[in-house]
């Protein structure tokens, strides 16, 4: 069989095209590998800290990294994943926006040969991600709830402020809390409403709830930003001394507020531990390791007045 001039030209063009694509999507072996850090939102200092720590660890390990802000928007997150894959990123350290909605992004990256390491938030797939390094929110809230029941002496009225309804952490925290509190029928939840993990929204939501329920004894918040918003609303209503506020995260202002007696307790998460573990796992992946635990829980520790001296914002002193 003989190649005609036309066929030969076409073949050369195809090969040239392939070579160009390869140049665009894969850096040479001399260049450092690139890690994309895709974070649900940079509008919350906790996630800024998580992204910064992941980026710092990636740099320390000798890799280039870039942080992508999904702005709590799954479509934007999809764009970031497509960009990361087409731009030749070698791994993605990922903080998902939606437990279900983010699964497809992880699957696409994995199918393209890019490992994904989830940080803090879980996706609803046991196999899509290379590994998921997750705060044990449920157990952390079980501990907080036990203290909540003790503090309220098993009776009273309370409000629960939930986080983003599409996030597993919202429900893990709420379920952990209720797995204890619901054993006590004299503890009555008068309102349960989402404030999207947002401080301002929490303040607005609580102001509104307090109008209908002025005699509450406690507020349980799914994160510290909401706890601070709740405290602001209570202070504005002149109830800050009477109503006990409980948070979750270990944010700087809440740790300070526990010292000042304004907030009763929070669940200390360890974003630096999660970020560093994810970066180290990516490094191990590049070096050939493949047998990662699908889930790596990171314990949450309760911070309250009698042990607050052991903790600083987002971790230990």
């Amino acid at each position: 069989m003989k190649f005609s001039q036309k066929h030969l030209t076409a073949l050369i063009l195809v090969l040239l095209g392939l070579a160009l694509i390869r140049c665009k999507t894969r850096q040479s072996s001399d260049e450092p590998k690139k890690i994309a850090i895709v974070v649900s939102t940079l509008n919350n200092p906790w996630f800024v800290f998580l992204a910064e720590r992941a980026s710092a660890k990636a740099k320390e390990l000798g890799y280039e990294s870039k942080v992508f802000d999904s702005q709590n928007n799954t479509s934007l997150e999809t764009d970031h994943f497509e960009n990361a894959i087409s731009s030749g990123y070698d791994a993605i350290l990922f903080n998902p926006t939606d437990a279900d909605g983010s699964v497809v992004n992880v699957k696409n990256a994995t199918a393209a040969g890019v490992p994904v390491f989830c940080m803090d938030r879980e996706i609803n797939s046991g196999v899509a991600a290379t590994s998921q390094i997750l705060s044990d929110s449920y157990s952390g809230c079980v501990t907080i709830a036990k203290f909540f029941v003790e503090t309220l002496n098993k009776k009273g009225k309370y409000i629960e402020l939930l986080g983003l309804v599409g996030d597993n952490n919202t429900w893990n925290r709420s379920k952990g809390f209720h797995s204890v509190v619901d054993h006590y029928p004299d503890l009555k939840m008068v309102a349960q409403q989402s404030a999207d993990f947002d401080r301002n929204k929490a303040m607005e939501v609580l102001e509104s709830i307090l109008q209908a329920n002025p005699d509450v004894d406690a507020v349980f918040c799914g994160n510290d930003a909401m706890a601070m918003g709740a405290y602001q609303a209570l202070a504005a209503a002149g109830k800050a001394d009477k109503v006990k506020v409980f948070g979750f995260d270990g944010a700087e202002d809440v740790v300070r507020s526990i010292q000042d007696g304004k907030i009763k307790a929070t669940g200390m998460q360890f974003p630096e531990v999660m970020a560093q573990t994810a970066a180290v796992m990516a490094d191990q992946y590049f070096k050939g390791k493949r047998d990662f635990p699908k889930k790596m829980p990171v314990a949450v520790e309760m911070v309250k007045m009698d042990n607050v001296e052991n903790y600083a914002a987002y971790g230990k002193k």
């Binding site: 044990d136 079980v142 036990k146 003790e150 797995s179 360890f270 314990a299 520790e301």
Partner: protein, 208 residues
């Protein structure tokens, strides 16, 4: 007339077929049906079959406290278990002590060994958390596709303790009783505090 009967019979037949072809179920019945994991059954099997293999190897509380003083790292390495990355570790312990106080939420117990006495608190009200599930090291989170199933195992184990272990004990215990116990405790490796150890009971025996 005959045509009318045939028409009605056909309508009845169609209605009968349609009625038997469509079923309505509540959405929560469908979603519940999807998850075949039965946490209560799993917890019961763990309690009856797996946990006893580990409780026979529980470390004496006095031995553990001595070891924590002399070689904390070895004590945690050899006798504790935890999931993933954690300063909070769980131990299976056993011991014997004299009841000092019977409270609403716990029973205070004093154990004595070689001139040293230690106060422990047996939890009788707040039996929550993962101490018993995780202290044996037997259950691995990665064996569960769904984290909530894993969490529910703890809740079911604690339910067994609340229903089977505590009621026969609480109804009889009084100050001065000697109690033999096996249980699980939680200690923070980085901020160790052995002053107010709470024991989640697995076995409690009031000695005559």
């Amino acid at each position: 007339m005959e045509k009318g009967i045939r028409y009605i019979a056909s309508l009845l037949l169609v209605a009968l077929v349609a009625y038997n072809s469509v079923y309505f179920k509540k959405l929560d019945q469908i979603t519940t049906g999807k998850n075949l994991f039965n946490a209560a059954e799993y917890a019961s099997r763990f309690w009856n079959e797996k946990l006893p293999r580990h409780t026979t190897k529980a470390i004496g509380i006095d031995v553990l406290l001595d070891l924590l003083q002399t070689d904390k790292d070895m004590a945690f390495k050899d006798y504790s278990h935890a999931l993933g990355i954690s300063n909070i570790k769980y131990f299976l312990i056993k011991g014997s002590g004299i009841v000092q106080a019977v409270g609403e939420n716990q029973v205070s117990l004093e154990t004595k060994s070689e001139g040293r006495s230690t106060q422990l608190f047996l939890a009788t009200e707040y039996v929550f958390g993962n101490a018993v599930r995780d202290a044996s090291g037997e259950i691995d989170i990665n064996a569960f596709t769904n984290s909530m199933d894993f969490n529910n195992v703890s809740a079911e184990i604690n339910k067994i303790i609340r229903e089977r272990v505590i009621p026969p004990f609480s109804s009889k215990v009084k100050i001065g009783d000697r109690v033999d116990f096996i249980g699980a405790i939680e200690l923070n490796q980085e901020h160790l505090n052995t002053q107010s150890i709470e024991v989640i009971p697995i076995e409690l025996k009031i000695k005559d």
